[in-house]
Amino acid sequence: MTMRGNGPLFVEPDCDAARQWFREKPKQMSDKVMSVQDAVRQFVSDDDYLASGGFGGDRIATALLHEIVRQQRQGLSFAGHTATHDFQLLCAGNDTGRGQLLKRVDIAYIVGLEARGLSPHARRVVESGQIELCEWTNYALALRFQAASMGVPFLPVRGFAGTDTFDHSAAARVTCPYTEQELTVVPALWPDVAVIHIHEADRFGNCRIFGTSVSDWHVARAAKKLIVSCERLISNDEIRRDPTSTTIPFYCVDAVCHVPHGSYPGNMPYEYYSDEEHLREWLTVEQDFDAYLEFIERLIFDSANFEEYLAQCGGAARMDTLRQQELDP
């Protein structure tokens, strides 16, 4: 039995270093509303470890991811925890003549878009060997965020033992002091920065999510810096009317960006369904590299902001259709 996977550890599970960071993180309930551009400029740095909320094509922070690509961040590490369209977007920063956005990836799920198929450009990037990879599972990555949010260096799990997934991970084995059984443990993962799209936030960053939370409860708490984008800005009084609904408290949040349709073309529960036509367009156009370069040039790099992207994708009329699909499936 292998006692430690051979995969690289991109973030040291040093909970004391993380404690020091969180001690110094500002915790005033200050106004954190800013533009997507400013938030990314201020809180996403080259070589940062990035985590992305939601579930690949569901409740994802598309606007923030576009901006990270647009601002041409370099050398990022990324947690590919069911990463689908989000991973596909970030790959627009690799092999497209603007340096290398992605450098290292912890993988649970990348390259694919679930039943929709594989992303040709993401495959190009990953199969070229330019990215350093480490294999995990969805639950393993969720647990790594959970360990970080708990402030402990590892958490135990009974899964994925005995596999090549384990061998290409940086998971380890320990013996239970009670049962003497062998257990897998996974190391805590504090992302330098996380981007999460949510339903409602106040100006200070108190957030509400409706529907499944996937791993965002833990991602938000594990992240050293956190940018949220929200469908709606609400008042602090409204937050206080129902404190049970607060999913992420202000002291985890560094920036609040008001971005209606911010998950487009992903699904946003109770707001709009995914734009399957547009997602299909991405997959199709990626097959022809030149067409793909033209496509991302037009949709991302030449768009000043996310609103221009939305306008190119059908604007208000398209959003209404997707809203209808969501509310009356």
Binding site: G54, F55, G56, G57, D58, R59, G80, T82, T84, I107, A108, Y109, I110, V111, G112, E114, A115, R116, L118, R123, E127, S128, G129, E135, W136, T137, N138, Y139, A140, A142, L143, R158, G159, F160, A161, G162, T163, D164, T165, H168, R173, E182, L183, T184, F210, G211, T212, S213, V214, S215, W217, N267, M268, P269, Y270, Y273, S274, E276, E326, P329
Partner: protein
């Protein structure tokens, strides 16, 4: 495909809990709910529990997975519920499967650094295949999929045979249960933990199945013929579960 979905639906007993993905597994679970297992609880790995599915979800995380659902929770809650021992079934797929039911959904090729095809990876598959009691696979049957040796073991089946799951620390008593293919329904020998043919689809021979399988297959005795879908199953499948033939039309 209809036959496979109906065969899968019949394996899900009433009162069971099942983590399903999109596509055929979801169709099978919906069909079971509408026929023999009205009390089957559907769970989706991103956190959806017990929806009244209005349509097939496109993503296992999309809002349909908790449409009029009993609970919209976290991925960890779903995985922990599996790890705690409460979930009877899960459906998994893969690009390759071997004789012990191990699955590959990570890469094709012999160099991990430079794969011939990079596939998505485990996602939740390796977790669900470790932690649920019984794993079901619905898959086309051909020699590129049913291989002697996987290019990468993503998800543990019975690993290299009897006792190997337990030795790795995986929960005793769990593992692959049925592999429902385009040619046959296969199970696993209780002692050898190797795949064996349980029933052949109507008109299919053992030789045909073996020809599409790289590893040696045993047969159960008596070898059954897979039950044809009933008229009721087909009717519900075509009218209610998949009226647009997204799945059954494949």
């Amino acid at each position: 495909m209809e036959l496979m979905i109906c065969a899968a639906a019949r394996t899900l007993e009433d009162g069971a809990m099942v983590v399903v993905g999109t596509g055929a597994p979801c169709a099978a679970a919906m069909l079971a709910q509408k026929t023999t297992a009205p009390n089957l609880t559907l769970m989706f790995e991103a956190g959806g529990v017990g929806p009244r599915l209005p349509r097939m979800p496109i993503s296992v995380g999309d809002s349909r997975t908790f449409y009029e659902g009993l609970m919209a929770t976290s991925m960890s809650d779903i995985m922990e519920t599996c790890q705690r021992g409460m979930v009877d079934y899960t459906f998994l797929g893969g690009a390759q499967i071997d004789a012990c039911g191990n699955l590959n959904s990570t890469m094709i090729g012999d160099d991990y650094q430079r794969p011939r095809v990079r596939l998505p990876g485990s996602g939740g598959a390796s977790d669900l295949g470790s932690l649920c009691w019984r794993v079901l696979v619905i898959t086309p049957h051909d020699r590129r999929r049913f291989v002697k040796k996987l290019d990468f073991v993503t998800t543990p089946g019975y690993l290299d045979g009897p006792g190997a799951r337990e030795a790795a620390g995986l929960p005793p008593g769990s593992g692959p249960y049925k592999v429902i293919t385009s040619l046959a329904v296969l199970g696993f020998h209780e002692e050898t933990k190797r795949m064996q043919i349980e029933s052949l689809h109507p008109g299919i021979t053992v030789e045909q199945v073996q020809a599409e399988t790289e590893f040696e297959l045993e047969c159960c005795s008596p070898l059954e013929v897979t039950s044809e879908p009933t008229a009721e199953q087909l009717d519900i499948l075509r009218r209610e579960v998949d009226p647009h033939r997204y799945i059954i039309g494949r």
